[in-house]
């Protein structure tokens, strides 16, 4: 259990509900969170609160009429591993992986781990609109539609400018890895900060 003040108006509450199992419903997308997402870390590399990131991903999925399930992947901090694990637990075979710093990937269970459906590698360029669209596209894949891929932005300066911080965040995130640990199912609640 982790209470996270976002600094703005919403508080993210993630309650662990035991080991995450494979989903039975075909209309679901599984969101796989990295070990320290919404826990030790509360915001992305560009200070977007994790509460808002998760809310937009979930909203994008809900808007499409698709069910979402959130898990925390504890056994590693590699995005492809997290996203692929989420996809394998998903009843639709579609999963989304998110790292604390904001890097995101849409994966499918039958793909090889290092492949993906859509990858958003540059965390500093991720904004809330992008997260909403990623949720939307993941849900559309789950429905068997052919979504237009979310435009992946690219900035040549992002790498030199953010690489050091990204590396530090990755090292920190990796410290929370529990090797061999099972992914856990999470209950997600958003509370308004002023509502306590």
């Amino acid at each position: 259990m982790a209470d996270t003040g976002t600094g703005t108006r919403r508080i993210l509450r993630l309650d662990e509900r035991g080991t995450a199992g494979p989903g039975g419903r075909t209309d679901e997308v599984v969101l796989g969170l990295s070990p320290a997402f919404g826990d030790f870390f509360t915001k992305t590399i560009v200070d977007i609160p994790h509460a808002e990131v998760l809310r937009e991903l979930l909203a994008g999925i809900e808007e499409q009429g698709v069910h979402a399930r959130v898990i925390r992947f504890r056994g590693g901090s590699d995005l492809a591993v997290i996203a692929h694990a989420a996809a394998k637990l998903s009843g639709s075979g579609i999963g989304v992986g998110v790292l604390s710093r904001g890097t995101t990937m849409i994966h499918q269970k039958d793909l090889v781990r290092l492949s993906n459906l859509e990858l958003f590698p540059q965390a500093p360029l991720m904004d809330l609109d992008a997260f909403r669209k990623i949720g939307r596209n993941a849900a559309r894949y789950a429905k068997g539609e052919s979504p237009e891929p979310v435009p992946a932005r690219n900035d040549f300066m992002a790498r030199p400018r953010w690489q050091a911080k990204a590396a530090l965040l990755h090292i920190k995130e990796t410290e929370f890895v529990v090797p061999g640990a099972d992914p856990v199912e999470l209950d997600v609640r958003f509370q308004l900060a002023d509502a306590g």
Binding site: A59, E62, E63, Q64, G65, G93, Q108, D110, L111, V112, S115, N116, L117, R132, R136, R140, Y141, G144, E145, S146, P147, E148
Partner: protein
């Protein structure tokens, strides 16, 4: 024994066959080959392609260049074709009367009628007042739902909502009593406020019933007969949508306007007539039929059509060294098509399928620089080069080597730029015709109707069947069958419609369904190839009567298409004609007809060839 090579220089491919002629006149075909044509057909630039193809054919026959006695070349006359597209209708929405786009996920279901109110002013509405709430950019879905619920709790009758963001389902999921919500209205700030409006959303898989019906709109707004007449175009524009908003403004209207697209002047042996391009393809082709055979055509300067015809003329005059004024357009094909265009004045970036006319034109000259080409070829190959007879006659001779054919026979040569036809009667008389419009026009129609803006992809869609990648291990084919693969498909093809090209699966971007792409592809082929096949046969058939033709042999690159020959066969099946794809010499398929015909004619003439040049 002499070794000869027949070479057919076509618009896009050069074909050759190598044969041995016995003194008795007996012909033994040894090998054939094809290569892309270098340069424009019938010019000295072709030498490179001819040298390549002769080399390949000799290699296939296991002979050397030194053994070759004669090269026979068809009388290749340059053909230049041009294409133009002119959009002739547009839809204009005035005073933001209507939002007729199809967001993927509108919220709620049913019809809501009320006065438009900005979300910020919802608190000022009196209880009992029916309102349609307009939620602008930047309003969070939870806040929007909360505000709507609060207004309802106060007794305000919230009948529906129009939303900027893709939030309709999110909002409706949080409402105490769901109402129809239309979302993704990008210019929501332009929705007139304080006006009577109606929002309608249909259940998934259905289309709206009230706002797409003129009397439905009249009922909602209490319109009289005259006013109903005014809103009829709005209703028409909304047919087939799953969601819609209609706002009743004093002057609001939706109009369909015809865009003047200039005129086309067709001069024929039976007179000269002008036709406005925006009259559509049927009218243009009707006028053409009236003046046929065409001697020249020109378009109004400053229009696409005028520009295209001038371009064709200029290219040909450059090539042959004649005055542009002396170049005559010999045929025009007009085709009705659709182009997706942004609706002027629309609030949600709506697209309407507007009417357009596609035009193909061609010129052909009899004065190609053939002597120069022959002389250059002689230099390059060091072999005697003879220019053979008329292309159409040669093609007929070649086509007759198809097993099962007999006279009277008609050939249809479906190429890239033009469709050629020739008929050979029992008496030996041949007649031929060259028409504008073939494979390139089909590609263009597919490209514009699907809004691809990618010629190469359109070309692939034309040439190969489609499938939908339903998982990484199976695709659903066009005919509904599933095909399984053992190796997982590439990630970029997942969930997409793919073209099954020879180079592998190629995903088609955009959200067109497989059925839609297939229908566009088939109708484009029908509009060009079937129409042209009938037009061509009609012009060469004895007495213009198609029933007088016994056999039709389909030749040319486009005859290799997986459905064009079937479409044509279907179209002429009622006329008692045997129609099929040629199989030259029983082995070459629809290829190599002219090259084969050249050799056959040479063998027949036995020494009566006219050597040109020297």
């Amino acid at each position: 024994m002499t070794l000869v090579a027949g070479v057919d220089i076509g618009n896009s491919t050069t074909e050759a066959c190598v044969a041995e002629l016995a003194a008795s006149g007996e012909v033994t075909y040894l090998g054939s080959a094809l290569a892309p044509t270098s340069g424009v057909k019938g010019t000295a630039d072709n030498v490179e392609g001819v040298v390549t193809v002769v080399g390949r054919a000799l290699a296939a026959a296991g002979r050397r260049l030194a053994e070759l006695d004669t090269v026979l070349v068809n009388e290749a006359t340059p053909v230049i074709s041009g294409l133009a597209m002119e959009t002739i209708t547009e839809t204009i929405v005035t005073e933001s009367t209507m939002i007729g786009h199809n967001p993927d996920t509108p919220g709620g279901a049913g019809l809501g009628v009320g006065t438009t109110v900005d979300f910020g002013a919802l608190g000022e509405c009196a209880p009992g007042e029916p309102v349609i709430c307009v939620v602008g950019a930047g309003v969070d879905f939870e806040d929007a739902a909360h505000g709507l619920n609060a207004a309802v709790a106060r007794g305000v009758e919230v009948a529906g909502a129009v939303v900027h963001a893709d939030d309709a389902t999110l909002i409706v999921n949080r409402l105490d009593s769901p109402v129809p919500v239309v979302d993704e209205v990008t210019l929501v700030e332009k929705v007139p406020l304080g006006m009577p409006a109606a929002v309608e959303v249909a259940e998934q898989g259905r289309t709206i019933r009230t706002l797409s019906n003129s009397y439905g709109i009249a009922t909602v707004f209490g319109l009289d007969a005259e006013q109903t007449r005014m809103v009829a175009p709005v209703a028409r524009a909304l047919v087939g949508n799953r969601s819609a908003v209609v706002v009743r403004t004093p002057e609001g209207d939706v109009t369909g306007r015809r865009i003047p697209a200039g005129s086309l002047t067709l001069a024929g042996e039976r007179g000269t007539r002008s036709v406005a391009v925006d009259e559509g393809a049927a009218e243009i082709m009707g006028v053409l039929r009236g003046v046929r055979p065409l001697t020249d055509a020109s378009g109004e300067p400053g229009t696409h059509v005028g520009g295209m015809l001038a371009r064709v003329r200029d290219t040909m005059s450059e090539l042959t060294g004649t005055e542009p004024a002396a170049v005559r357009i010999q045929d025009v094909l007009a085709v009705d098509t659709f182009v997706p265009q942004r609706v002027t004045g629309a609030l949600a970036g709506e697209f309407a399928l507007e009417n357009a006319v596609g035009l193909a034109a061609m010129v052909r000259t009899s004065r190609g620089p053939m002597r120069l080409l022959a002389a250059r070829l002689r230099e390059a190959l060091g072999v005697d080069v003879l220019i053979g007879g008329v292309e159409a006659d040669m093609a007929v001779l070649g086509a007759l080597t198809t097993p099962g054919t007999g006279t009277p026979v008609a050939i249809l040569d479906l190429g890239g730029g033009s469709t050629d036809a020739a008929v050979a009667e029992r008496t030996g008389v041949t007649r031929s015709v060259h028409l504008a419009g073939a494979g390139d026009l089909v590609t263009k129609l597919i490209d514009s109707e699907l809004g691809l803006d990618n010629r190469e992809l359109a070309e692939d869609i034309k040439k190969y069947p489609l499938a939908k990648a339903e998982s990484f291990f199976h695709v659903r084919m066009e005919d509904g069958t599933a095909r399984f693969v053992t190796e997982p498909l590439p990630a970029e093809t997942f969930a997409r419609v793919v073209v099954l090209s020879d180079a592998g699966m190629r995903p088609v971007p955009g959200r067109h369904s497989l059925e839609k792409i297939r229908q566009v592809r088939r109708s484009a082929k029908h509009k060009v190839f079937v129409v042209n096949a009938l037009r061509a046969l009609e012009q060469v058939a004895p007495g213009g009567n198609l029933r007088q033709i016994g056999f039709v042999v389909v030749l040319g690159g486009s005859a290799l298409d997986f459905e064009v020959p079937d479409l044509i066969a279907e179209a002429v099946s009622g006329l008692g004609i045997v129609c099929g794809t040629g199989n030259v010499r029983g082995s070459e398929g629809p290829r190599n007809a002219v090259a084969t015909g050249l050799v056959a004619a040479h063998a027949l003439a036995a020494g009566l060839d006219q050597a040109v040049g020297e």
